[in-house]
Amino acid sequence: MTLDLSNRSDSFDSANSQSEQQTLISNGALKTELEVENYKFFSFFIHDTEYLLPIANVEEVTNLPSISFLPNANRFLDGAFHLRGSILPAINMRKISGSPRGEPSPESRLIVVREAGLDFGLIVDRINHVVTLSADHIERQTQSSYPNSENFCSQKLKNGNRFTGIIDLSKLLTLITGETNLDLS
């Protein structure tokens, strides 16, 4: 338990020292540039694939908190965590994307997002940076660039020959709340 405490202090310090990361995750600062907000994206990795998330939906990014198992829950839900007194679900993004099994690492992060008034967390393997895009960079996702991405991405970013999927949180919500007969295993 003592170790636990010193870890807590470590993670606090490390979060502070990574000032670059801090600026990435302070949504408040970014919201001052309201006019371009819709075209700012948060970039992160699931397994070895990069994805984007509209920054307007990102509430907070934290180190992986303690996640509690949820019996008989939707299979994409890895468990529940608490954020300032609220209990929220954490989505296993590797499972959603059909990636191989992963485990917590020092680079793992929880991205807390808000969609349709609901807060939930996404477990990702690494966070990257914020990108600003103009509308002509963004294309409607027509066919899948990588496995299962059509189930949770509806747009993609075109950068030369490279495509990066943009996470559609409403699709994610359907996957974790609605009945689904998709077989992503």
Partner: protein
């Protein structure tokens, strides 16, 4: 003081992460205007007592840890003065006659008080953790400071709870007029009687019980009580009687509605049932008796805090609301009788069904289902007072829920301790999770799920009973 680096960093972590959070809550608490006069001053006293012990703790930590926390402390001191000023201001301009407390403010006051109780638990657990590594005289001062915080937090919580409690008669106020009007309309003679209506319970429950009560009484008037002619023919007094009696039983309130009308009737209880279950209550209808119909509503005294039993199964912690727990005891695997795929134990005169919690919740396949959850304990290990020990197949515990023939048992690996918890909703995404009533945040910051015993019974036990019958 001879503290090593590890201890110092533990304190720094404590001061940085716990205290500002605690203070934020205290400040928010102090800003809430509460307008029940006598309770108000009591609450103000309780809050300042908590603040005082919080500051003792804060000072104590600043005196014993590296200087990094002093900034925090100065800031907190300023904030404290500010919030005390707010509190006085609020106390000043609240209208003495205004008894109606703003509901959302009362709710946030309650949840803050509940969170403080949890914080107190967290402090105690930190204290226990570091006790062995700090000098004895320091440990005892810290323990004393935390004990005081503990006492004051509880006082404040109790006061907040007291403000929340209102007599159930508030929910009865519209009933006499309604019954009078219905009697006239239907040409019936109906007497309405109350017993124990001064029993107090949570304001939210009292407010929300009014509508289901109105529905039930309307039903009794319309379908239950007969016209005076019919009643005289079957030898009943011409005036019908509807009796509402209220009594407390442990942490529950029982509202028994009894009428002496006809036994057989068509009752649609769906709406009432769902309204009652929203309040974490239950409803029982007995219309088969010769002298009318009895509806029994069982409600928790308060929705905010509940005494719970913490158990462990396959490395996972769960809380069982104590209200329905009869006992918990050790059993050997030999005492569990197997019949097909159902299990029983002998409980006094009855053979009662039992379920293994780890089977019902598929806890053994947790590692496949959850990749990131903490405490990835091995299947053959359990937690005992926060230490990991080997799970022994010959040592099981059964928690008996309910009494007599209606009881059933939950088999777990370990019964840990009782704790008062602040049950939180799991929110809109998770509220459909089967057999889970909510969650709470434990002393070390983990989410612990609270079992929904009604659902466990209907899902796992009722089928067994039907098969056995």
């Amino acid at each position: 003081m001879g503290m090593d680096a590890l201890t110092a960093s533990a304190f720094t972590a404590l001061a940085r992460t716990q205290l500002p959070d605690l203070h934020r809550k205290l400040a928010a608490l102090a800003k809430l205007p509460v307008s029940k006069r006598e309770a108000d001053s009591e609450l103000a006293q309780a809050i300042s007592a908590v603040q005082a012990s919080f500051f003792r703790l804060n000072e104590w930590i600043s005196g014993h840890s590296a200087g990094t926390t002093s900034d925090h402390l100065t800031q907190n001191e300023i904030k404290l003065e500010h919030s005390q000023a707010e509190l006085t201001k609020n106390a000043d301009y609240e209208d003495e006659s205004n008894v109606a407390t703003n509901k959302s403010q009362l709710d946030s006051l309650t949840s803050l008080a509940a969170e403080l109780v949890c914080d107190r638990t967290r402090f105690s657990s930190i204290e226990e953790d570091i006790r062995s590594i700090i000098p004895r005289n320091i440990a005892s001062t810290l323990a004393e400071a935390i004990q005081q915080l503990d006492r004051h937090t509880k006082q404040m919580r109790d006061t907040v709870m007291k403000i929340r409690m209102v007599p159930l008669s508030h929910a009865f106020s519209r009933l006499p007029t309604m019954v009078r009007e219905l009697s006239a309309q239907l040409g019936k003679d109906i007497e309405l009687q109350f017993i124990g209506e001064s029993t107090v319970l949570d304001k939210t429950i009292v407010e929300q019980i009014e509508d289901p009560l109105i529905r039930l009484i309307q039903n009794s008037c319309k379908q239950g009580i007969e016209t005076p002619d019919t009643r005289q023919k079957v030898g009943k007094p011409s005036a019908g009687l509807i009796k509402i009696s209220v009594r407390q039983e442990g942490n529950y309130i029982l509202i028994v509605i009894n009428d002496d009308g006809q036994a057989q009737r068509d009752v649609d209880m769906d709406i009432v049932q769902s309204q009652i279950s929203k309040l974490q209550g239950t409803l029982e209808l007995d219309s088969a008796q010769a002298h009318g119909t009895t509806v029994t509503i069982k409600l928790p005294l308060t929705l905010a805090m509940a005494q719970s039993l913490l158990v462990e199964s396959a490395g996972e912690l769960f809380a069982i609301p104590m209200g329905s727990v009869i006992e918990s005891k050790r059993i050997t695997p030999e005492e569990i009788q197997v019949n097909g795929n159902t299990h029983f134990i002998q409980q006094y005169d009855f053979k009662i069904p039992v379920i293994y919690l780890h089977e019902a919740f598929k806890l053994d396949s947790k590692n496949e289902l959850s990749w990131y959850s903490k405490n990835q304990n091995q299947k053959n290990q359990i937690r005992l007072h926060d230490k990991i020990v080997a799970r022994r197949e010959d040592r099981l515990y059964v928690v008996i829920i309910g009494s007599g023939e209606q009881s059933f048992g939950l088999i777990v690996d370990q019964v840990l301790y009782q704790q008062e918890i602040a049950i939180k909703s799991l929110g809109p995404i998770l509220h459909t999770l089967p057999c889970i009533a909510g969650g709470f945040i434990s002393g070390n910051g983990e989410v612990v799920l609270v079992l929904d015993l009604e659902q466990i019974e209907s899902r796992f036990i009722s089928p067994v009973r039907r098969r056995a019958a």
